[in-house]
C-alpha cells in the first residue's frame, strides 16, 4: 500500500526529469509561497516501511525516496538509483546510486542504507506489513558505497516495484526500536521536502529541501491540514483555506461550477488505479455456470452507471486494467450491454420464466440473490441499486444488503457467506494479479475469495511474475485481461476518475497517467500571486 499511496495524487516522491519543462513558459519560475493540502485523515507513522494509511503515505512520499519510481507515463525509472541492471533472467538486480546523495542532516546516503532498509523490512520484530514483497530475496550485498546487488531465489518481476520503497537512514535508526522510535514523529529523509513539525490532528508542515539532488522545489512550504469533515473541506475550498483537495463527482460537476470557483481553482481528472466490480461466489451452483455470469454481464448497462452515479467521470471497465495501463487489452470488448443476449445466455443455462411471474426460474426455484456491499460508501450503494434495477429487467431478483466494514470482511467475505458482492480494488501500478485470481490464494483472509480457479490463468499469472521482458509481460497480462473478461469471475463495472482541484495560482500543474503530483518540485507561484509571504523559506 505504501507504494501505491506514495504515487497517488498528493504523494509525490520526486519529479521526473522533464527536460526543459520550465523553460516552455516565458516567465522564470518564482521561488516562494506555500501549498496547503486538505486531508480527511491524520498520518500515524512517518517511516516508509511502517506507513500504512494514505496520509502517512502522502507525507512519507515527499520526505523519502526509493531506488526506483514511476514516471508520468508509468514507466519504471531510476530515483535514487542512477542506473540498474537485471541479470541472470531476473535472479540478480544491481543498483548504482546517484553520486553525492545526502540525508537531510547532511550525512551521505550510501548502499549501506539500502541494505539496512531491507534488513528492517524482513526483521520479524518490526511491525511492517510489507515484508511479503521481499520474501524471495536471497541476499543483499553491498559492492561499494554506491553499488548494491540483490539476488533472488527465483525471478520476481514485481520486485522492481518493491524497490520503490523509501529508504531509511541507517545512522539514525541503527540503535533504535523502529516500532517506537521518536523518529516516527520527526523523520529525517532524503526527499524534496524536509520535516518541520507535526501538530497531531491539525497540521503537518514541510519545508523545501534546498539541497535536493534534482533541484530545490520552487514552493517553499508544504502544509498538510487535517480536516476530517467533507462539508468543512468544501467550505475551506470556498474561502481558499486550502489549495489542493480531491472532489467527489457531484462537487466536480455541479458544486464547483461557479464563476468564483472557476477563477480561483483548476480542476483535473485522470483515471484512478482500481476498479469497481460485481464479484460472484463461485462455490454457488448458480454462478458456477459461466453463461449465467456472462448473462449478468450483458444485462448490466455500465455506461448508465458511469453516467448516473459518477456524472460521467469515469470509464466503463472491460477488465482489471485502466486504459492507460500497458497491460490493458484494447481488443477486449466491453461485453456490450444487450438485454436480449443476456436473456438468451440465461435461458441456455436453464433460467427461463416458466411460471410467468416475471422472475426467471429453474427447477421451480426463482433466480434470487443477495448483493452485499459495505457501509459508508454512497457511490457503491447507488451502483447496487442500478444493478438491482437492471437485473430486474431480465428477471433476476436482487436484494441489497449493506454491512459495516469490519463485519463485512470478517463475517461475510472471510467466511464465504455471500452470494455476490459489490466492491472495488485499488491496485498498484504493476499489473500482477496473483493475489486476486490465483487459485492458491483462497484461504480465509486471502483475496481470491470468489474462489476463481482456472489453470490457464494460474499459469499466466505465474509466468508474468517470472518474466522481466516488457514485451513478453505485456502479452501475458493482455491475455490475462482477455481470460478474465471471458470467464467473468467478476463483472468489471467501471474505473472511476481521480478528481483533484488545485488553486489556480500554481503553475506547471498537469494531469498525466500517474496523476498531478509527479512534478511537484516544478510547481511555482508567480511572485505577484504569492499568498503566504510571512513564512520564511
Amino acid at each position: 500500500m505504501a507504494i501505491r499511496t506514495r504515487l497517488s495524487l498528493l504523494a509525490v516522491a520526486a519529479a521526473v526529469l522533464l527536460a526543459g519543462s520550465a523553460s516552455v513558459h516565458a516567465e522564470e519560475p518564482a521561488q516562494g509561497d506555500a501549498l496547503v493540502v486538505g486531508s480527511i485523515g491524520d498520518a500515524s507513522r512517518l517511516l516508509p516501511i511502517l506507513a500504512t494509511d494514505s496520509a502517512s503515505g502522502d507525507i512519507v512520499g515527499l520526505l523519502f525516496n526509493g531506488l526506483l519510481k514511476y514516471d508520468a507515463q508509468l514507466r519504471i525509472v531510476g530515483d535514487l538509483a542512477e542506473s540498474w541492471k537485471v541479470d541472470d533472467g531476473g535472479l540478480t538486480l544491481t543498483f548504482t546510486l546517484r553520486p553525492n546523495l545526502r540525508w537531510h542532516d547532511g550525512v551521505p546516503l550510501t548502499a549501506d542504507d539500502v541494505k539496512f532498509t531491507y534488513e528492517k523490512l524482513i526483521d520479524p520484530a518490526v511491525r511492517t506489513p510489507f515484508s511479503s514483497s521481499y520474501e524471495l530475496v536471497q541476499s543483499v550485498e553491498v559492492l561499494d558505497a554506491r553499488t548494491i546487488r540483490i539476488r533472488y531465489r527465483e525471478p520476481f518481476a514485481p520486485a522492481l516495484e518493491s524497490w520503490m520503497m523509501g529508504l531509511i537512514p541507517k545512522h539514525l535508526l541503527e540503535r533504535e526500536d523502529l516500532n517506537t522510535t521518536a523518529f516516527l514523529r520527526r523523520p529525517v529523509g532524503c526527499g524534496p521536502f524536509r520535516f518541520v513539525r507535526w501538530k497531531t490532528g491539525e497540521l503537518i508542515e514541510l519545508v523545501a529541501n534546498p539541497d535536493y539532488f534534482e533541484h530545490r522545489p520552487r514552493i517553499n512550504r508544504y502544509l498538510y491540514r487535517i480536516i476530517p469533515d467533507e462539508a468543512t473541506m468544501f467550505l475551506e475550498l470556498l474561502t481558499s483555506g486550502i489549495d489542493l483537495s480531491g472532489l467527489t463527482p457531484l462537487q466536480y460537476q455541479r458544486q464547483t461550477d461557479t464563476s468564483l470557483m472557476r477563477r480561483a481553482y483548476r480542476k483535473f481528472r485522470y483515471p484512478s488505479f482500481g476498479f469497481t466490480y460485481l464479484g460472484y461466489n463461485l462455490h454457488d451452483a448458480r454462478f458456477q455456470d459461466v453463461r449465467v455470469r456472462q448473462g449478468i454481464n450483458a444485462a448490466i448497462n455500465k455506461q448508465a452507471i458511469v453516467d448516473g452515479v459518477l456524472f460521467g467521470l469515469g470509464s466503463v471497465a472491460t477488465g482489471p486494467y485502466s486504459k492507460e495501463s500497458w497491460a490493458y487489452n484494447p481488443s477486449v470488448a466491453a461485453g456490450a450491454y444487450d438485454r436480449a443476449r443476456a436473456k438468451a445466455l440465461l435461458a441456455e443455462a436453464g433460467w427461463v420464466d416458466h411460471d410467468g411471474d416475471g422472475w426467471l426460474d429453474r427447477d421451480g426455484q426463482p433466480f434470487r440473490f443477495t448483493l452485499l456491499t459495505n457501509q459508508g460508501n454512497e457511490v457503491r450503494r447507488q451502483v447496487c441499486e442500478l444493478v438491482q434495477e437492471q437485473l430486474k429487467a431480465v428477471g433476476i431478483d436482487v436484494t441489497i444488503r449493506i454491512i459495516e466494514w469490519a463485519t463485512f470482511v470478517h463475517e461475510f467475505i472471510d467466511k464465504r457467506r455471500f452470494e455476490a458482492v459489490l466492491l472495488g480494488w485499488s491496485l498498484s501500478r504493476d499489473p500482477d494479479l496473483y493475489d486476486l485470481f490465483h487459485s492458491s490464494k483462497t484461504k480465509e483472509g486471502e483475496y481470491n475469495f470468489v474462489g476463481y480457479a482456472n489453470p490457464d490463468v494460474d499459469a499466466l499469472l505465474e509466468r508474468g511474475r517470472r518474466t522481466f521482458d516488457q514485451a513478453e509481460r505485456q502479452r501475458i497480462y493482455q491475455e490475462v485481461h482477455r481470460r478474465l473478461a471471458d470467464d467473468q469471475p467478476y463483472t468489471f463495472l467501471y474505473v472511476a476518475d481521480a478528481l483533484p482541484i488545485v488553486s489556480s495560482r500554481f503553475r506547471n500543474v498537469s494531469a498525466t497517467p500517474i496523476g498531478i503530483g509527479y512534478n511537484l518540485i516544478d510547481w511555482y507561484v508567480p511572485l505577484a500571486e504569492q499568498r503566504y509571504r510571512r513564512m520564511s523559506p
Binding site: 511491525r127 490532528g201 480536516i227 463475517e411 503566504y532 513564512m535
Partner: protein, 326 residues
C-alpha cells in the same frame, strides 16, 4: 465526614473493575481487529504478515490473558501504547486534553453566565411574555442538531461574511505572528466552536434553573422576606438564588467527565484535534489501549463527580449534611 468519604471512595473500586471488564469484553466482541487498518484488503499485505503483526501486538492470546495483562499494567498506572502509532496512550491524551479542556471550560462559563440569569428572569413571572419567549427560544436551541447549526454558522460567518475562520485552531501563519496577535488569532478561531457548544447546553440548563427557581419563589420564607419589605433584587439573589442553585450542583458534578470528553461532532466539523475525535478514531481503528484508557478515565471521573456532588451538596445545604446522620 472523612470516614464517609473514604468509604465512598473505597466502594468505587469494584464498580470500576466491573466497568473495565465489561468494556473490555464489548470492544473485543465487536468485529474487526486493530491490524485491519494496516492489512485487511490490501493485496500487498500477505496473510502471514498480518498474523505476525497480531502476534507482535499480543492479539493472538486468549481474551482473559489480554485482560489480565492490561489490568496488570493499569495497576502501575501504565495505559500501554496505541496500536495505531505505537505512542504511549497517556502522551496521546495529554496532547489532546488542553484543547478540549479550554473549549469546555470556556463554554461551561458561558453556559452558566447565560443559563442562570435566563432561568431566574423567566421564573420571576412564570407565564409572562419573557418567559414564553425564552421557552420557545430554548426549545429551538435544544432541538437544533448542533452539526447543522455549526455548518450554517460556518457558511454564513465564514464564507458569506468572512468574519470568522471556517475551521481549525490557528491561522496557517500563526507561528510568525507577534504574541498579542497570536492570542487574538486563537480567540478568533475559538469563537464559533465555543459558541455552538454552549448554545445547545444553555437550553437545558436554563430550564432546570427556571423550574428550581419557580419552586423556591413559592416558599414561605420568600413571602416572609417580601413581607419584611426587603428590596426585590435582594429577595431574588440572596434568598432565592442560593436555594435555587442547589439542583445545579448535581448537574455540574455529573458534567465533570464531560469536561474532558469532547464532542465528536463539533471537533470533527471544526477540525479541532480534541478528546472526542481521539476516542472516535480509536474506536474506528479498534485501538484497544486508547479506548480502554478513555473509558477508564471517563468512569473514574463520573464516579468522582457523583461523590463530589454529594459532598458539595452537604456543604451547601445544612439540612442534609451527612455528618449528623452518621
Amino acid at each position: 465526614m472523612s470516614a464517609y468519604l473514604a468509604r465512598r471512595l473505597l466502594a468505587l473500586a469494584p464498580v470500576l473493575l466491573w466497568i473495565t471488564l465489561i468494556s473490555f469484553g464489548i470492544i473485543h466482541l465487536a468485529p474487526g481487529k486493530p491490524t485491519d487498518a494496516a492489512g485487511a484488503f490490501n493485496p500487498k499485505v500477505s496473510l502471514e504478515a498480518r498474523q505476525r503483526m497480531e502476534q507482535l501486538y499480543g492479539l493472538d492470546q486468549p481474551l482473559p490473558v489480554q485482560y489480565g495483562r492490561w489490568l496488570g499494567r493499569l495497576g502501575r498506572l501504565d495505559f500501554g501504547r496505541s496500536f495505531v502509532d505505537d505512542r504511549p496512550v497517556l502522551e496521546k491524551i495529554a496532547e489532546r486534553l488542553p484543547v478540549t479542556l479550554t473549549i469546555n471550560v470556556l463554554s461551561l462559563a458561558l453556559v452558566l453566565g447565560l443559563a442562570v440569569p435566563l432561568g431566574v428572569l423567566a421564573a420571576v413571572r412564570p407565564g409572562s411574555a419573557f418567559d414564553r419567549l425564552t421557552t420557545v427560544g430554548v426549545f429551538i436551541g435544544y432541538s437544533m442538531p448542533s452539526f447543522w447549526l455549526a455548518l450554517l454558522c460556518m457558511a454564513y460567518f465564514g464564507v458569506t461574511l468572512r468574519w470568522l475562520p471556517v475551521s481549525g485552531l490557528h491561522s496557517l501563519e500563526y507561528e510568525s505572528l507577534p504574541r498579542l496577535a497570536q492570542g487574538l488569532d486563537a480567540a478568533w478561531h475559538l469563537l464559533l466552536p465555543v459558541g455552538i457548544t454552549a448554545f445547545v447546553s444553555v437550553a437545558g440548563l436554563s430550564r432546570y434553573m427556571r423550574s428550581s427557581m419557580v419552586d423556591v419563589l413559592r416558599q414561605d420564607y420568600i413571602r416572609t422576606a417580601r413581607a419584611k419589605g426587603l428590596p426585590e433584587p435582594r429577595i431574588l439573589f440572596h434568598h432565592g438564588l442560593r436555594n435555587g442553585l442547589l439542583p445545579l450542583i448535581t448537574i455540574l458534578g455529573l458534567s465533570l467527565p464531560d469536561l474532558i470528553g469532547g464532542s465528536v461532532i463539533a471537533e470533527t466539523i471544526f477540525s479541532i484535534p480534541g478528546m472526542g475525535r481521539l476516542f472516535y478514531e480509536a474506536v474506528m481503528a479498534r485501538d484497544y489501549p486508547v479506548i480502554m484508557a478513555l473509558v477508564t478515565i471517563g468512569a473514574v471521573l463520573t464516579m468522582l463527580g457523583n461523590v463530589l456532588a454529594d459532598v458539595a451538596y452537604a456543604y451547601a445545604d445544612p439540612r442534609i449534611r451527612v455528618g449528623k446522620a452518621l
